[in-house]
């Protein structure tokens, strides 16, 4: 049995997906602490704050590729979190797209995984959870869940 992820942060502009993700995580016992944000700017501000040291910061971050209403996209947020705020969290993209060029950019930005959104997200999250320890220990290679 895979361990429960302490806390997850979801950054996605689609509020309906927040509900889907929350219910899927609860049904699969993935985490007990899930926070959701609708903008990349808000997430970047929080990570900037957490950079100064906080026990409040999430253990794993799921970022949407195109976050409407934000100053930058999901890949830029991943890059900022990885290279500017250096929090060492498990971070990846969750998007309905699986464009190879974007996937390549995400890898360069430091994303550890890419989950393709669909009507049936649960099997992908289940698979992700099995691989989670590898991401946490930085031993698992980048993986595309589709």
């Amino acid at each position: 049995m895979s361990e429960i992820i302490n806390s997850i942060l979801l950054v996605d502009d689609e509020n309906l997906f927040h509900l889907v993700f929350e219910d899927a995580c609860s049904l699969l016992d993935i985490t007990l602490d899930l926070r959701s944000l609708m903008s990349a700017d808000e997430a970047a501000n929080m990570f900037e704050k957490w950079q100064k040291g906080s026990a409040d910061k999430p253990e794993c971050v799921f970022v949407d590729l195109n976050i409407i209403g934000s100053s930058f996209d999901g890949i830029e947020l991943v890059r900022k979190i990885n290279y500017e705020y250096g929090n060492g969290v498990v971070i990846g993209i969750i998007s309905s797209s699986s464009d190879q060029q974007e996937v390549g950019k995400a890898i360069q930005a430091g994303a550890q995984f890419w989950i393709v959104k669909s009507d049936d997200i649960e099997p992908r999250l289940e698979e992700f959870r099995k691989d989670y320890n590898g991401y946490k220990n930085r031993t698992a290679p980048f993986k595309l869940y589709q």
């Binding site: 509900l19 049904l27 007990l32 009507d119």
Partner: protein
Amino acid sequence: MKIAFLKEDVEKLIKLSKERNVFMEGNIIKLIDDQGNPEFAEYLEKAKQKDKDSRKMRLEVTKQVQQQNKELEAKAAENDQLMNDLKQALEKADAAKKAALNDLDLLQKRTQFELIGRIVEVALWIIMGVGVTTTLLYCIALFSGSVKDTTLLGNTWSNLFGILLTNSFSIIGTIMGVKYASGETSKKG
């Protein structure tokens, strides 16, 4: 980390579930310790299952709404595209109508001018013909020495020339008037 409840609270929770079918909900249930109480363990299991069922139902509904939203968005995009196509078609039809009207106007003007040109041409030939004939008759009369005919033809010649000149100016005036009127009509149209 597990949460332990007081015995009285556990009893109250079990009683509430039995009497009113009300259970605890949410992720907190997963963190509660049954403290070896089989009745409370059963309560927690039941609460977890109920929570799972309601989440499953909510997840299905949310997915359906999400799907419907996607379909609505796709339909809205399709409608926008149709509206754009329709707008473009209307613009094209309007431009074609304007071009057709313009062509018709030009054709009408050309026909009018052709007709006017022909009338003027015929009128001028008649004027010239009458003028030349009268002058010719007058010259013959002059050279033949017939005083009576000369006087008659001289008067006729001068009268005819007067009438012909008046008619010529009248024709020219009519032509100018027609040209001006057709110019005004095309400006208004």
